[in-house]
């Protein structure tokens, strides 16, 4: 293998990994605030992207607007997931909400299969015709766009969480749910809002997956769910900076093995990476959750 191929595969992977980072942030944010895992999150993300092409089928839309519709639709679906799977289910039972979200994942998947007759749907790409070259090394325009859009989403999220009162109240709930309520913050609204915000990020990620793969398929749901969870574990449950770094790293790692070992072997190495982390760094790269005391 030569160094140029190595750099090329790692770079492409890093850019695509920003999508995994967004998915990982979604899992980790809900875990940080509620100490719960929403397994239907990946499905909601892809479903949001499906809604956006359904809308685009009626009204011709610029690709960027399609992306925004995906984000908003997924935010709405995430809110419904909160209502159906968390709001009225006793949170004290660790398995109840988890199983509810497994059911929701399959339900969303079935709805998508039913609505599309199981056929993959083409998704509009952005800047796919741009290719920046330096000799044999090059950058795909669509991947750069994905990376930049993800970066903007992350910066906005971090700004919200660390600078606005909404975000600070959310972090207060994550750190001390009882005291937060007794400071006048509604747990229910904070939880619902957290779901909507993760949904917005997920819908954006779902649209970008559709755009970079070129099609949407229900088969995308399980891989992004699993990779989102892996990112979440490697980054440390509840840590947003951890999820960002882990997302980029998993993207680079899997693309490296895609380039040098082929598509059928790729995910095996990703799973091995998960086990390595669970054995040697079970707390994630930073080994300290930033969310809870």
């Amino acid at each position: 293998m030569d160094w140029l191929d190595f750099f090329q595969s790692i770079t492409d992977g890093l850019l695509f990994g920003s999508i995994y980072a967004l998915i990982g942030i979604g899992f980790t944010l809900i875990f940080g605030v509620m100490h719960k895992i929403n397994l239907a999150y990946g499905a909601a993300s892809i479903a949001g992207a499906y809604v956006s092409i359904a809308v685009a089928a009626y009204v011709p839309l610029p690709a960027l607007v399609t992306f925004l519709i995906a984000a908003i639709a997924s935010g709405g679906i995430a809110f419904l997931i909160y209502l159906a799977n968390f709001r009225f289910i006793p949170l004290a039972s660790p398995l109840a909400t988890l199983m509810a979200t497994v059911g929701m994942l399959i339900l969303i998947d079935e709805i998508v299969v039913h609505a599309t007759d199981g056929m993959p749907q083409p998704y509009p790409a952005l800047f796919a015709d741009i290719y920046i070259e330096w000799g044999d090394f090059g950058l795909r325009g669509d991947l750069i766009f994905i990376f930049v859009l993800s970066l903007i989403a992350m910066v906005v999220l971090m700004f919200m969480l660390y600078r606005t009162r909404l975000g600070i109240a959310t972090r207060a709930v994550a750190q001390q749910p009882v005291a937060a309520q007794l400071a006048g913050i509604s747990l229910d609204r904070t939880n619902a809002l957290t779901f909507v915000i993760t949904g917005l990020l997920g819908g954006l990620a779902g649209a970008m997956i559709g755009a970079s793969v070129g099609v949407l398929s229900p088969l995308l749901v399980v891989p992004i769910t699993v990779k989102g969870l892996i990112v979440c574990v490697i980054g440390g449950l509840g840590s947003i900076p951890g999820a960002i770094i882990a997302g980029l790293a998993v993207g680079a790692f899997e693309n490296f093995f895609l380039a040098f070992r082929g598509v059928t072997e790729r995910d095996m190495y990703v799973m091995l990476l998960l086990f390595v982390f669970l054995v040697f760094r079970p707390g994630g790269i930073f080994s300290r959750s930033v969310a809870r005391d």
Binding site: Q181, L182, A183
Partner: protein, 255 residues
Amino acid sequence: MPILELTTLTKHFGGVHAVDELDLAVEEGEIFGLIGPNGSGKSTTVNLICGVVSVTAGRVAFEGRDITGSAPHRVLAAGVARTFQNIRLFGHLTVWQNLWVAQNSVEDRRSENFAKRWFFGSGATRDAVDQQLEFAGLAGKRNELAANLAFGEQRRLELARALATKPRLLLLDEPAAGMNLEEVHALDGRLRALQQAGMTIVLVEHVMELVMGVTDRIAVLNFGRKIAEGLPAAIQEDPAVQQAYLGGGVETAHA
């Protein structure tokens, strides 16, 4: 009409009667002491009042309104705030932010529009936070993380956070635990100042110097039941109370 009225308030944890048919009436403007041996149901009573723990039976009324079973943030909005026995600050927020997120009184909610409220806050609430920090003696620590404060400072911050919600009734769950005598005296003065300003306070406490000195009336719990109620001097002489505290005088119950 009492500001806080508990009627046959009961809480069972499985077979344990943590609070058993408790009747209590706290009058507006008084400092009311709630004492009793460990496990006598004092903290559970506070948790029942502010909605952290569900009520098995009975009624909690604040200013004549039934607040039994209300969510904690609604109890707070009604005008009841509290502090915790084991300090519960938002450790990874700064001192200033700890107070800022607590500006949730009805007046604060009315004074800010939605965008102001949830993004950067109005100048008025930000100024109010600065004043509260000044009052709590924490102005110099505004940008420190709450987790990094000294113990006494954390207690002051928690009290300031409760006051930031502009309550009319303040529930203090062992505020003097772990304090030295000097800090206890400072707390004593602070509570009297709050009473002067019109606050009603329910004080759950083991430190008898504080309870006997500052309270107007005291109720004594044992095994979830009220065994005595009255003026501090009378409580000290009450044989049932002395019996509850292992047969000794009330003064022996410092630990």
